[in-house]
């Protein structure tokens, strides 16, 4: 570190009246870069990719190997649901856990815009990574065609569309949990614990069979990612459970953010 006299200009004398508010696109670019430029997130992406490849390798090797492209793609959903939203959580909670909120919210005092930028970029990363999952599934399907005499079956249908939609929901859920809790470990634990606790409950408490699809996001989203037909009731259940597990925490988070101080210590 050198101690030197300041020679470069510290401020300009130009007329600053022409300064315009930061456009949303630039805020989104900022949030996206922040989401991806840390080592933690890069490793997370590597881990998700390795897990995804691992799951597909097991599928390709076990059983008769006759697995369609879409079947492979469907099975990438487990690592994607579990870990991809953690990227959204980290990008959100870092503002508090890494205390960057002090900078973010002084550079952009319109706090709600920051939330939208985080949602847009989280969903963007989710969809972006789905393309990676598709590529991994291509390799897996080519492998079973070549080595296990599987039939080539490349068609994608309702199942893929359903997964894409759920990916949007999951990523938004990551942002919502991060915002509601404003703390990295708490948000990750709660995000992972909720389905872990709810899933066995849905199986054990069978008396609630009719209730679960209205309460549990996993149960409600099953028909969608299985590619089953979605009737009015299924869609209604999906909307209600998304409201409970994404809308509500997002609302709590926005209220906390809008009303309060940016406290990072």
């Amino acid at each position: 570190m050198t101690t030197q006299q300041a020679e470069a200009p510290t401020r300009s004398r130009t007329d600053r009246a022409d300064l315009t508010p930061v456009p949303f696109t630039r805020l989104a670019a900022y949030e996206w870069r922040k989401q991806l430029d840390t080592r933690a997130v890069r490793w997370l992406f590597v881990i998700i990719a390795v897990l995804t490849a691992g799951v597909l390798a097991v599928m390709a090797l076990v059983g008769d190997g006759n697995v369609s492209y879409e079947q492979f793609l469907y099975n990438t959903s487990t690592p994607l649901t579990m870990l991809l939203p953690v990227v959204a959580i980290l990008a959100t909670t870092a503002e508090w856990s890494q205390r960057t909120g002090l900078t973010t919210f002084t550079l952009e005092p319109r706090r709600l815009r920051v939330v939208w930028a985080k949602l847009v970029t989280a969903v963007g990363s989710g969809l972006g990574f789905f393309v990676v999952a598709m590529a991994i599934a291509v390799v897996a399907h080519l492998a079973v065609i070549a080595y296990r005499d599987a039939d080539a079956s490349w068609g994608l249908g309702a199942m893929t569309a359903g997964m894409l939609l759920m990916l949007v929901v999951w990523m938004a859920q990551g942002v919502a949990f991060g915002l509601a809790l404003m703390n990295t470990p708490a948000a990750i634990v709660v995000y992972l614990a909720v389905p872990t606790i709810l899933s066995p409950l849905t199986m054990l408490v069978t008396a609630w069979e009719k209730v679960w699809p209205w309460v549990d996001l996993n149960t409600a989203s099953m028909p969608l990612i299985m590619g089953d037909s979605m009737g009015g009731q299924e869609w209604a259940q999906l909307v209600v459970t998304t409201g409970i597990w994404v809308g509500l925490p997002l609302l709590i988070g926005i209220l906390r953010l809008q009303r309060g101080e940016i406290k990072t210590a």
Partner: protein, 299 residues
């Protein structure tokens, strides 16, 4: 220009900031001085829109902070040098702010140069930085948008003496260029050489405010003579209260002229006559804030 009017923040029964009003003018360095917990940081957080005030207003360049278009280009803010992502490099930290505020990438190299972080240091992750380096990175971030106003909370914290001197020159240059600087400190010695004006805060309230010279003058006069006893008597006769000092001489709240007249009238030879200076200001500072603390307790 920073205009603070009746700014107040209440946390439950505690008034963290109590009816604080002052103005920081362009071209001047305004020192915001007070002991730890006096409310400096809370006041600065309210000025930058991070903490909503209970009542009162703070305007920067004539507007509430949140109403500034692209505030990163108008106001350079450093509230906590430790509040930087440990996993990012210094350069990346600045590049992000450059992206959001829309300044060119060249500006990142410029400010790194200004604060004296080498390219090698800028390429390291912030977790490896000393507090002094974080402070420099924070100052670089504040300067990045070529702002008109700087709001810096304890920027000298963690800097070595050379670093403090460097920052002093930097802030003086910034103000000489027409910029407004508000910087806080809990140490008078850090602030007295750079600040033109001082706002002294204790227990949430402004206890003294004015140009440094005014406050130094108000801090009193030190006098030494060949016959302190005679001068002591002469001063008392003139209605000037004095306090004898252990090393000889005495201090008084009266100004130098009053003391000189008393000495002249008594025919005492004065060998030293001066403002008590920073030492007096330090005492004043402690006294003002201590008084306020007592009030708070009895209230």
């Amino acid at each position: 220009m920073i205009t603070v009017e009746h700014l107040t923040k209440r946390y439950g029964p505690v008034l963290a900031v109590n009816d604080v009003s002052f103005t920081a003018q362009p071209g001047l360095v305004t020192g915001f001085l007070g002991p730890n917990g006096a409310g400096k940081s809370t006041a600065m957080r309210m000025m930058t829109g991070l903490t909503p005030p209970t009542s009162g207003t703070a305007r920067i360049l004539g507007k509430p902070y949140g109403a500034l278009a692209n505030p990163g280009r108008r106001v350079g803010v450093l509230l906590d040098a430790a509040a930087q992502h440990a996993g990012r490099t210094g350069r990346e930290t600045l590049a992000l702010s450059a992206l959001l505020t829309g300044v060119g990438r060249h500006r990142v190299d410029e400010v790194l140069d200004v604060v004296g972080l080498t390219p090698d240091e800028a390429g390291r992750r912030v977790r490896t930085y000393s507090l002094g380096m974080r402070q420099r990175l924070g100052i670089a971030g504040a300067l990045l948008g070529e702002p008109d106003v700087l709001i810096l909370d304890e920027p000298a914290n963690g800097l070595d003496p050379a670093g403090i001197r460097w920052m002093r020159d930097l802030l003086r240059d910034f103000a000489a260029d027409g910029g407004t600087v508000l910087l806080s400190s809990h140490l008078l010695t850090e602030i007295e050489q750079v600040a033109d004006r001082l706002v002294v805060i204790g227990r949430g309230r402004i206890v003294a405010e004015g140009t440094k010279d005014d406050l130094l003058r108000a801090a009193g006069t030190f006098v030494r003579s060949t016959d302190d006893d005679a001068l002591d008597a002469a001063c008392r006769a003139a209605g000037i209260e004095v306090a004898r000092q252990p090393g000889g001489g005495f201090t008084t709240a009266a100004d130098a002229e009053q003391v000189a007249r008393a000495a002249l009238a008594a025919g005492v030879l004065v060998t030293e006559l001066r403002d008590t200076g920073s030492r007096g200001l330090e005492e004043l500072f402690l006294e003002l804030t201590a008084d306020d603390a007592r009030e708070q307790v009895s209230a």
